[in-house]
Each structure stands twice: as C-alpha cells, then as structure tokens.
Subunit: 205 residues, 2 copies
Amino acid sequence: MTTVLLVDDHPVVRSGLRAVIEAGDALTVVGEAATGEEAIVLAGHLRPDVVLCDLRLGSGIDGIRTTIALRALDPAPAVLILTTFDRDAEVLGAIEAGAAGYLLKDVDPEVIVQGIHRAAAGDMVLAPDLATRVLKGMRSPLPRLTDREIEVLRHLARGATNKEIARTLFVTEATVKSHLAHIFTKLDVDSRSRAIHVAQETGLI
Amino acid sequence: MTTVLLVDDHPVVRSGLRAVIEAGDALTVVGEAATGEEAIVLAGHLRPDVVLCDLRLGSGIDGIRTTIALRALDPAPAVLILTTFDRDAEVLGAIEAGAAGYLLKDVDPEVIVQGIHRAAAGDMVLAPDLATRVLKGMRSPLPRLTDREIEVLRHLARGATNKEIARTLFVTEATVKSHLAHIFTKLDVDSRSRAIHVAQETGLI
DNA sequence: CGCGGCATCAGCCATTTGGATGATTCCGGG
DNA sequence: CCCGGAATCATCCAAATGGCTGATGCCGCG
C-alpha cells in the first residue's frame, strides 16, 4: 500500500484529492497539510511514500522550498508537484529541487493516480506538453539573474521609475540603469515593459 | 432539499466541492460542468437552486458571462462565485452580472456550505474582507475604459512599444499616444509600467 | 439639430529611458 | 595571491515616452 501526504492550502482541493486518490484501493492518504512548514513536520512523522504538493501555499514557504526540505528527510519521500500554473521557472525550479514530477491540476483524476504510482516507483512524471518544454529548457537554460537583479525586477514590475528604484534601494540611478542593462541582456529584451512581461511569463517573479 | 450545480474546469476541485457539500444532508449536487457553456445547458435542464461557479474556466467563456447567461434563465438559479483570486474588477463584475456572492477558495468548507444556504435563501454573501472593498468600490468606481483602450492596454502589457501597437492596430503613433494618455488619466498613473501594474492588480486585463 | 463621447491625427517640448563604454570596490574560489 | 563575477557609480548620446493643446469626423441621444 502506497502512502500519500497531501499539501495544499485549499481545504476543498485537499478533499478533492483525497476523494480521487482513495477511490482506488492501492493508495492511502495518511495526512494533510495546509502549509509547507506543516508538511515538513508531518512528513517526518508519517514517512509517506509520496508527497503531493501544490506550488503556491499561501503566506508561508512555497512548494519549491518545501520540496527541498522534504528531499532532505531520511527516508525522503517522492515529491509530486500538482499545481495550477505551468510557468517555466517554477517547473524547472521544482525539478531542480528534487521533485519527482510536475502535473497540472486540470488533468483527469486517473492521471494523478497514475502519477503517484509512478513517482512511488521512482519514475519521473511530467505532463506531456511540459516534458518538451523542460527538455528545451535544458538546452537553453533560463537566464540566471542575481538576487539584486531580481530585486530590481520586482520594483520594475510594480511600475517604479529608475529614480524611485534608486531611492528605495539606496543606490544611484546609474546603478539601477546598470542592473537594468544586465537584466535586459539576460532576458533578451529592450524595454522595461517587455522585461516585465517575460519575467511574468517565465515565472521569474 | 437544496440542489446545487458545480462549475469548475478542474475535476479535482469538483470532487472536493462535492465531498464538502454532500457531507451534510441538506444539500445535493445534481450536476457538474467543466465549462460555462456546459453549465448553461445543464442548468436549463436540471434547474438547480444554486450554481457554484469558478471565474476562470479554461478556454471557453468565463464565469462572468456564464453568470449573466444563468441569470437570464427562468427560473434563474442563485449564482455563487467561488474562485481563487480576488481582483477588484472581477469581484465587481461578478456582482454586477447578478451573482449572489463571491467566496475565495481558501475558506473552510463550512463557510462554503453556509454560503450556499444563504444564497439559496436570496441573501448576498461576500467574504468579509471583500465586503469592505466592494463597498469602497461603490464609492470610487473602477475607471471605465473603452474597448479600444482595453485593446491598447493589452498590447501594452505584452511589452509592445507605441510604434508596434500602432502597426498592429493600423493607426498612427499619435493615436496610440492619445489612447495611452486617456488610459493614464483614468488609471491615475504616469508611466506604462505602472499602468500595466494597476491594470493587472484590479483585473482590468 | 446640437452636444458629448469616442477614435483618429498632429506638433512641441521636457523627461525618461536605453545603449555604449569604462572605472572602482569587494569577495570568494582556484 | 590573482581572477572573475557582482555591485557600485559615471558620462555621453540617441530614441522613446509622456504632457499639453488642439483639430477632425462619426455616432447616439435628448
């Protein structure tokens, strides 16, 4: 019998997953967590075979950090990410964090059940259309932005001008422009609007 | 016995809602729909007391349009919007479309059940923190953008320059700048980045 | 019919932005 | 200890953007 721990901040989704998973007789839900912190504690005690985890977990730590912490346990559960979005940076991030797979929530229940079985067996499981994107992502990896650049990017996305960013970061405008130039190069764009757009598309912010 | 129709593009969420709703004995789920179109047809046949509807419904028509169509039925079901996001334009839009209420998916199952009962009784039901925002929204209504302005705004959000927008809309750059000036005034901003930001915040796009 | 809202266009001007180039400092890894 | 990446700052210049004012044609509504 394969044991499963559910992690999702929405009670309704947890109920749905439980219903779907326990419809068959080869899987048991041994626990539910609403936050990443809770999930880590519970996984330590319950030692589930598979953790089914959302990426967005409300106010606490996100699914990626949760995955990293879970993979550090001994024995480490297989972590299967099940979420609503498919932004590149998040998919890649989850895989790098050691997730056994990444499924979108709009798939049929059957796919989820199969995914859990395959994750428990040590297989990698990816939604078909994601698989190709991930492989492409391997060849041309997402640009690596530094922490500072991400910080600037966030202010940018909130509509701040260079002057405003400079003030809030306690640097000169020249520095901000320098960071922006690097960001633009890495994202292969030539305007702040487009930078915001691709950053949101890929899930960088 | 109050009858309920579920509308959500995620099978898992529908399962969860069904489990939550049928846990008590005063509510029955009489049907499920994955799209708005499906919901309208089903509601015509099943005549549910309450329709529980997500706002984002994948590729087809959205929850707002679905609500409008549902309210045009005779007898018209009470429509309760249950969704993940709480963007102002969408909340307001749902209320204007005739929805009986608006709840966020992260609430406890109990709240959902109560909401259905109150909606069936003809009450208005809003999440507490939404209620205040809606009332505030009544006083200072969301800016009314024209269709053309929304169109320009969408291109803006995709990072297009004035020149590019002009080309794709078959107008001169002067016209684009004119639209932008109006958009900026209505949104009370002074840069394209900030316009994009508030448009996304309020759910205008 | 006249009025207002909308979409279209134009010109002028100040500010912002983006590109290019280069300098300095700091810090961690080989 | 030296190298390279990161962050910081600077200058110069061209292009894009934003503010202002004003004009035209269309259409719906009282």
